[in-house]
Structures are given as C-alpha cells and as structure tokens.
C-alpha cells in the first residue's frame, strides 16, 4: 500500500550546439498522484516527456525541480534502498531489458536477494519458480534455466514483470509495456498486469501512446503535450469527451473501426504550433486551469 505524490516536476536538459547553450524543458510542472489499486495512464506522443517522467520516478534521472514523494500506508516516507524496493519499472522493449548473458532465474533471483526477500539458495529458487508461475510462465522449472533469446517476446515481457515485482514493489511504472509485442499477445500481457494489480493492490503508471488501451486499462488518463499536462480525468471522459484541442486530435487520429469513413471526412493536417499547451482541462474539477505553472498559482487561477 504505497502511494506516490508527484508535485510540480520540472526537467530541463541543457543542449549545447557550438558556443550556444540552450535549455530544453522536457517536463514542465507535471503533478501526478498514484494510489494503490488505481492505474493512471500517461498519454502522449514521442518527445512529450512521458519517458522522462518514468526515468525520474524510477530515480534514473534527477528532476530539475519538483518533488516525488513516496509514502507507505503508515505515512513513512520511502527513500534509499527502500525506494528501489517500492518503485519498480517494466521497460518497453523486452528484447533489450533482459541481459542476454544471464538465465531467466538470474533476472528474478537478483532482486529477491538484493532486497533480502529470501535466504538460502533453495528458498530463492522456490521463490523464482513461484514468481514465474504467477506471471503465467509455467512450468517455471522448465523456463528458469533458459536464457532470454530462447523466449518469445510475450514470455520475456512476463519475465520483466516478474522481475519488477520480485522486490515486493507496490508501485509499478510500465513504460509502453506492450507496444513492442505482437498484437495477439498484447491483451494477454495487459490482462496479466491488471490481475497482478488487483491481487497486490498496486499503484500503476501506464505510459502509452495508444489511446484505446489507455481507455480500457486505466482509471485515469493524463494527456501530456510538449512537457505539459493538457487534459486529465476519468478514462472514458477524456477519450469520449475530449476538451483540449490536442486530445481531440489524438482521439481523431486513432484508427477506430467503429467509426468507418472518417479518413475521407477528416479536415486535413492540423498546424501543431497552433495548439496551445498553456491550458489544461481537468475533468475532475470540471474546469480549465493553467498548465506549466506551479500548483499553488494553478489553484489561485482556478
């Protein structure tokens, strides 16, 4: 039962071309809340800053400003090694996220050992098998000694999920967990994530560019455009009743066989620079707010 409060996250990257130094704001005052049992989808195109947020949440990058506050159920703040135990990540590419040199067992046994979840070798092995079977990789005894290249993409992603859960993580960052997989196994992996979430009451951040799965898999959708949150709200509200121009554009662009013939009726290319990312529609509050400003002034403006 761990929750995460992200407040006013800002990440600047320094760019240097010749003598000129410029600053690129990849993430601009993004606030999020992850609570147990709920899935928040972070939707946006490449370069919108969603992967940067994942990196900051998993402490692979430091934010320029803003806070990530992770608290256990009893209110104690999580830091240091415990942070690595509580917050884990599933990477996008299952072909790159497993070390080709090591067996499947190694990938799951290591986090178990690091976080002292097991003692003896036998105990560790039993836990590894148990974890594998939990992600529907059975027989685990058969799979544990294999190496990643002997597994299919879907199986590898299941191993990656087992590894993320091995330390006993309560917060899971899933960075496009199914976009590299074959279509017919995507839902299987999402279903697995959904089941594990219900069983362990996990807080999940689902990062994706696919609106359809975001709508059905998550409870809340946060739309990111050029580093800023431009719309947030319950999944169905955001997808079926988008308010911001950018969300509308996204919803319009996603193929939808339920509404055929839209392609011919489309207006044509939209000038992206004309889309304003200075405002954010909050479906929970039912009103517009300023985007890219600190939370306090946001509240004042509301």
């Amino acid at each position: 039962m761990t929750s995460v409060h992200v407040t006013d996250l800002v990440k600047d990257y320094k760019l240097r071309s010749g003598l000129k130094r410029t600053r690129l704001r990849a993430v601009d005052h993004v606030s999020l809340e992850l609570v147990p049992g709920r899935t928040v989808a972070l939707v946006g195109e490449s370069g919108s800053g969603k992967s940067t947020i994942a990196k900051i949440l998993t402490r692979m990058e430091r934010p320029t400003s803003g806070t990530v506050d992770v608290r256990l159920e009893d209110g104690t703040a999580v830091d240091g090694a415990a942070y690595r135990r509580e917050v884990q990540m599933v990477f996008q590419d299952p072909f790159a996220s497993l070390n080709p040199f090591h067996s499947i067992e190694h990938h799951i046994a290591r986090p178990l050992r690091i976080h002292k979840r097991t003692g003896t070798n036998e105990e560790t092995h039993a836990r590894v098998i148990e974890m594998l079977e939990r992600v529907n990789l059975s027989p685990g005894e058969d799979l544990a000694p294999r190496r990643p290249h002997e597994l299919s993409g879907g199986q590898r992603q299941r191993v990656a999920i087992a590894r993320a859960l091995a330390p006993g993580a309560q917060v899971l960052i899933a960075d496009e967990p199914v976009s590299m997989l074959d279509v017919s196994i995507r839902l299987g992996v999402l279903n697995l994530l959904g089941r594990l979430q219900r069983e362990d009451d996990l807080a999940v951040l689902y990062i994706t560019h696919d609106l359809a799965t975001a709508r059905h898999f998550s409870d809340e959708i946060v739309v990111l455009y050029r580093g800023r949150v431009v719309e947030r709200g319950p999944s169905d509200a955001v997808i079926l009743d988008p308010r911001h121009d950018y969300t509308k554009l996204l919803a319009q662009a996603a193929p939808d066989p339920e509404r055929p013939g839209r392609l011919a009726a489309d207006a044509g290319p939209v000038d992206r620079d004309a889309i304003d990312n200075g405002r954010c529609y909050d479906h929970f509050a039912g009103q517009w707010r300023d985007a890219g400003v600190p939370t306090e002034s946001k509240e004042r403006s509301a």
């Binding site: 074959d182 017919s184 339920e258 392609l263 044509g268």
Partner: protein, 298 residues
C-alpha cells in the same frame, strides 16, 4: 450512416480489373531445416485498390511482398507459383521469367515499394532534389533538366511537402516529412502498384493519420493499386478495400474490409480483431476486469 467510403469501395470492386495476379506462390527459406515462409498464396490485386495485408511478425507478409517483385534475397527462394502483372497497355508480364535487366526496369517503373523505416533509408549527404533526380534519370535518361525539376516539385507537392524542401537534406526533415518524401519517390514514375511495408509504424498517430489520408487521396487521384502491409488491423479496416490475413505463411482469409470486420470467418481473424480494444466502443473493456489467460504458444 452507410458511409461514403463503403459505397465507394463497392463501386470500385464492381468495375475492378486485375493489375497483379499471384497464384500458388510458395517461398522457402533455404536454411538448415527449410522453412516455408509463404505457402500457396493466391491473390488478385485490382487496379486502384488498397489491399491490406495483415498478420503478425513472422507470418510471411513481408516475404510475400518482396517476392512479388522478386526483391527477396537468398536464402529465400520462390519454390513454385506464378506472378503475373497486367499492364495498363493490356500486356501481361510474367514476373518470374523476367530477365535481370527487364526486372530492373519493371521495378519502380510499374511497381514501387515503400519500406518499413524507409524514412531512414534516405541518403543523409545528398539533398532531396538530388535523390529524386537520380531516381528519375536512372529510369528516364532522356529527361531534360527542366522536366526533372518540374516533376520533382510536382510529386513533392502531391504528398503534401512544400517544394521549397527540395533543397533540404534528410536530417533537416521530420520523420513524417521524410516518410512523405519516400512516398513521393515511390510515385515518381507513376507506378501502377505501390507496395507499402509498415510505412507508418515508426510515426506518431497524428502524423500517421496525415500520411494515410495522403495515400488514400493520391490513390483516388492517380488510380494506382496499393498493397498495404501492417499488423495494425483497425488501421487497415479504415483504409483498405480488401484485407488479406496471413498466418504462418498462409492467407487464411481474404475479404472486403466491411465483411471482415462484421463477419470474420477464420478464428485467427477473429482473434486478431479481438486483440484491438476499440476506442469509442465497449470492446476491450474486459482488460480491466477480465480473466487473465496463460499465453498461448505461438
């Protein structure tokens, strides 16, 4: 609404003449244990039609597309079958018996391809203008400079890129723009067939949408046939007239897009359709509360 596109589709199919016929095509990979990548494929492509080729990785859809203009490279080989191109002039060309030199003329002139990730296949050190010119002059050696310039500007405009961009280098263009340039390059010689292999997979949805719209519009204007290969079935359902679904090297179902969506016969097609939660409908809501099944061995 019985949409415009549906009636348009029906009309097109009614008057359609074949432009390419593939019969009993089998392609084998000569590896240690020979693998049949395409098995007895039968396919007729009609003039001005968008034919979707759907399937998952390793189903043979790319191999099929490459074999159609003999771009397959060893160890792949065409083990049997017949591929006939029906030219606009009424002449029938047996592609499998073409000599190398004739084959080179045939490719790009009659049938062009847009590869997966083609946008990264542009030569980074020459301008767009030079690349278009080289392609044109390779096939039309007699063209004058003015004609080349005019034609280059024309194709760019057709794919929605400002001809000012002729002087640009590939790295100065965005991914979507580069992919448009590749499509312009493919239609430079006004081919009768364009084969597109995952042309939009690497692009963002909005950009993908713009390019799809362009492809459909160009097809309406210029009446070329398109073979559109992708794993994204919902996308195919929207843009194609007919869709072929491939599984393990075989075409398991080939039908019009509407019928395929409403009344798929093959269980694999239904499974594939079911794999895409719908954006506005209710399909897919089971993800949240559905049962989690063990992955079927593929």
């Amino acid at each position: 609404m019985t949409t415009m596109s549906e009636t348009a589709r029906a009309e097109r199919l009614a008057v359609a003449q074949p432009v390419l016929t593939v019969a009993d095509l089998t392609v084998v990979y000569e590896v240690e244990k020979p693998v049949t990548a395409v098995r007895d494929a039968d396919l007729t492509l009609h003039r001005g039609e968008i034919l979707g080729l759907a399937g998952e990785s390793g189903c043979g859809k790319t191999t099929l597309a490459y074999a159609v203009n003999r771009l397959h490279r060893p160890p792949a080989r065409i083990a049997s079958g017949r591929i006939t191109f029906h030219d606009r002039s009424g002449e029938d060309i047996d592609i499998l018996s073409l000599k190398e030199a004739d084959l080179r003329l045939f490719r790009w002139e009659k049938l062009s391809m847009v590869f997966q990730g083609a946008m990264n296949a542009l030569n980074p050190v020459t301008s767009v203008r030079a690349q278009l010119r080289d392609t044109l002059l390779a096939h039309r050696p007699g063209m004058s400079r003015a004609e080349v310039r005019e034609r280059s500007a024309d194709v760019l405009e057709r794919v929605g890129v400002d001809p000012v961009r002729l002087g640009s280098y590939p790295h100065e263009l965005s991914g979507g723009m580069r992919q448009r340039v590749m499509i312009a390059m493919a239609m430079l010689l006004e081919p009768q067939i364009m084969v597109m292999d995952e042309p939009t997979t690497a692009l963002d949805v909005v950009v993908q949408r713009d390019i799809l719209r362009e492809i459909v519009r160009l097809r309406d204007e210029l009446d070329f046939a398109v073979v559109f290969i992708t794993h994204d079935l919902p996308l195919l359902l929207e843009i194609s007239d007919r869709i072929a679904v491939m599984l393990d090297g075989e075409i398991v179902e080939l039908d019009t897009a509407d019928r395929l969506y409403r009344d798929a016969r093959h269980p694999y097609t239904r499974k594939l359709l079911g794999s895409f939660p719908s954006l506005s409908g209710t399909r897919g809501s089971f993800i949240r509360d559905g049962v989690d099944q063990p992955e079927e061995p593929s």
